[in-house]
Symmetry: none
Subunit: 191 residues, 2 copies
Amino acid sequence: MKQRKVLTSGEIAKYCDVTLRTAIRWIERGHLKAYKLPGRGNNRIQVADFIDFLKENKMPIPEKFQEQNTRILIVDDDLSVAKALSRIIRSLGYEYKIVTDGFQAGLELAKFNPQLITLDLMMPKMNGFEVLSYIRQSGFTATKVLVLSSAGNEALEKAKTLGADAALDKPYDNNEIKEVIQRLLGDGNSD
Amino acid sequence: MKQRKVLTSGEIAKYCDVTLRTAIRWIERGHLKAYKLPGRGNNRIQVADFIDFLKENKMPIPEKFQEQNTRILIVDDDLSVAKALSRIIRSLGYEYKIVTDGFQAGLELAKFNPQLITLDLMMPKMNGFEVLSYIRQSGFTATKVLVLSSAGNEALEKAKTLGADAALDKPYDNNEIKEVIQRLLGDGNSD
DNA sequence: GATATAAATGTCACAAGTGTCACATTTTTT
DNA sequence: AAAAAATGTGACACTTGTGACATTTATATC
């Protein structure tokens, strides 16, 4: 399938179930960003701009433009713990990636662009709290963070104040973590 | 990547997400400057003319043709060392960013997308060798890596085998490092 | 709750730009 | 030198931009 990066005013009209005339008016009035072809000035809209427009107006986003699978990044220096968690995540049908150190975590946060990160607080070579703050400082505000730790309630509370969306004690209950993951990802959709 | 100076009408069509036929019509009508090959008159467009055309019509400019500052990422857990290095880099006119741990390094490698990374091998919470391998494994093949370390020649050699483009002893000579940086960045341009 | 007013959207027709197709020819690659 | 890929061209179908006007929707006012 040919995935184009640019849409015409007519396509916008169809996606929004509106007349061509109306789509053009949106562009004229600056609601929808577009540029004109040199010929007669036919409009072209970049997909990213279209999605911004849809979000701005809380309009439904057509499936074609829905972001891909839900992706979860598992950050844990203990590979066996990470793999156990990955089995749960796979059973929920989400895509995932495991990283075991800070560098990979940062790299994959940007490259893999997950909707959710599970973060172990107690790692020898990486400070979970710092990672948490960086994530929030770096503009990944939409990325949900689920903190997992055996460091006690105080640490979990601190994590929440630093921006964690949820925090669970280790060892965790499988059903409980499933619930939390689905809740966090669900919240992301309904905004 | 091969950076050509001249484009064909078909390439214009792809970049603008338009039919070949349309791109040719733009040329015919004088919107887009081009010249013809002697054969049957196949069109060739100079990149500069294409960019003028895009700007003229306020069309988005493909990333490939964006002029971006040269960016350097400084990875060193010792902020004072990093700042000293940043002064040198600034004097050379490059843009830079300083990170002091692995997580930030990974994040900025992907987000800042630097042409060059200066990497300290000896960091308490981060293994420079591992970072080096990850960079190469992660497909950042075009990113030059300059290793800085006081760990001795053996470590520097090891770094080179792991993919470092250059390695310098600490403390380094200011003029020497300037030379190396410019050499590494120069190589990248001349395809 | 009903009415008045303004703003947005739909409809229609026409002119002009763009897409599609087939084919000959040129460029590029092997 | 031969094969593969890309290009230019013409004819024709389809889409788009525009203006004018009818209709619907939202907001304010009584």
